[in-house]
Amino acid sequence: MLGFVKGAEFMLLFQLFIEFFMIGLFGFGGGYAMIPLIEQAVRQHDWMSHQQFTDIIAIAGSAPGPIATNSAIFIGYQTAGVGGAIIAAGSNLLPSLLIVILLIQLIARHAHTQGLSYSLYGVHPVVTALIFYAGIRMGIQNDLFSKSADYPQYLIMSFAVILLFKKVSPVWVIGLSGILGIVIYGF
């Protein structure tokens, strides 16, 4: 019995390691580029509900530090405790460490790195589509783009987008929309 529990726990940690390593490896285009990858992993393994995932992005986005690492810590902690948080964050960062050092070495040896920027030229539009798709998906899952949505939700979303265009920091946008939520839906 004990051996079984241990095995299941090990499997979970192993899953976290593999998933967050892949997320780190393919997260081209900065922190937000990893959100679609994280969303897919969470969905595939059924680690948490859609709403909870959105809440995690909210918390990860209102703390300092990269949104992907913050989500990794939260998701790792939620699924497998402190060990899970360390494994998820560490495996998420490992590809960055390896690839940055590899690039430094390649450039120091005057290797031809032009191919990388050619490839990234094709990757970035795809990442744009991925983030857009993740936003729409998460909107549907949170009953935002559906018939049951109420108009204050659209109001808050438009308000948030306007503030972001005005270069207000996301932390303030999240805080203000939380206050709006309390004002609209009650204490």
Binding site: A85, S119, P125, G139, L144, I179
Partner: protein, 194 residues
């Protein structure tokens, strides 16, 4: 004997530089909400002006590599600078410095959230926050798109990727690899043509 003392001295020096890197990035870390390109001005003031580890001319190189590698730009910059200053140990020290403050804060927030998420006013606050997060993510795609989708080829790629996602729910990793191969071949072909 003398050599040994010198070696110990060098090691002390090595450790003190690592510690210095750790502290410097720990100071920058809480300033970088979102972890993105916002870190660059802080790098300039701390690393270039105060510590003089880098010259101003090196900063674009830092940005270029931090953006080319996968992962957050802030972490990648820390890895790059740490590695240039003191090798692998330096990279790890700088990265740890970036991570410690935000990890502590996120642990605190996670604890608070898991403890108080059932309170009605917290639930209502999150009812308000969720649409804002959708707005935040759509805005992020717009912001990345503004520099990524800038000609007919990239617009074509964006549309193809969006259609494949919305109609066939293809895996993100598969699409990213597809985009990389297409981008590479397109450039190779255009260069050959010109």
């Amino acid at each position: 004997m003398l050599l040994q003392a010198k070696r110990a001295d060098l090691f002390d020096n090595y450790l003190s530089v690592l510690f210095d890197l750790f502290l410097t990035f720990m100071k920058i870390s809480p300033l970088t909400f979102g972890g993105g390109i916002a870190i660059i001005p802080h790098i300039e003031s701390e690393i270039v002006s105060k510590k003089k580890w880098f010259s101003k001319e090196d900063v674009p190189e830092v940005i270029a590599i931090a953006q080319s590698a996968p992962g957050s730009i802030a972490i990648n910059s820390a890895i790059y600078i740490g590695y240039m200053v003191r090798g692998l140990g330096g990279a790890l020290a700088a990265m740890a410095g970036m991570l410690v403050p935000s990890a502590l804060i996120i642990f605190g927030l996670t604890y608070l959230f898991l403890t108080y998420q059932d309170l009605s006013f917290i639930q209502n606050a999150f009812k308000g926050i969720r649409p804002a997060i959708i707005g935040l993510i759509l805005f992020a795609s717009f912001k990345i798109g503004k520099s990524a989708v800038n000609d007919r080829f990239t617009l074509f790629l964006f549309i193809i990727a969006a259609v494949l996602l919305f109609c066939f729910h293809l895996s993100p990793v598969f699409l990213i690899i597809g985009g990389a191969i297409t981008g590479w071949f397109y450039h190779a072909w255009v260069r050959k043509g010109s």
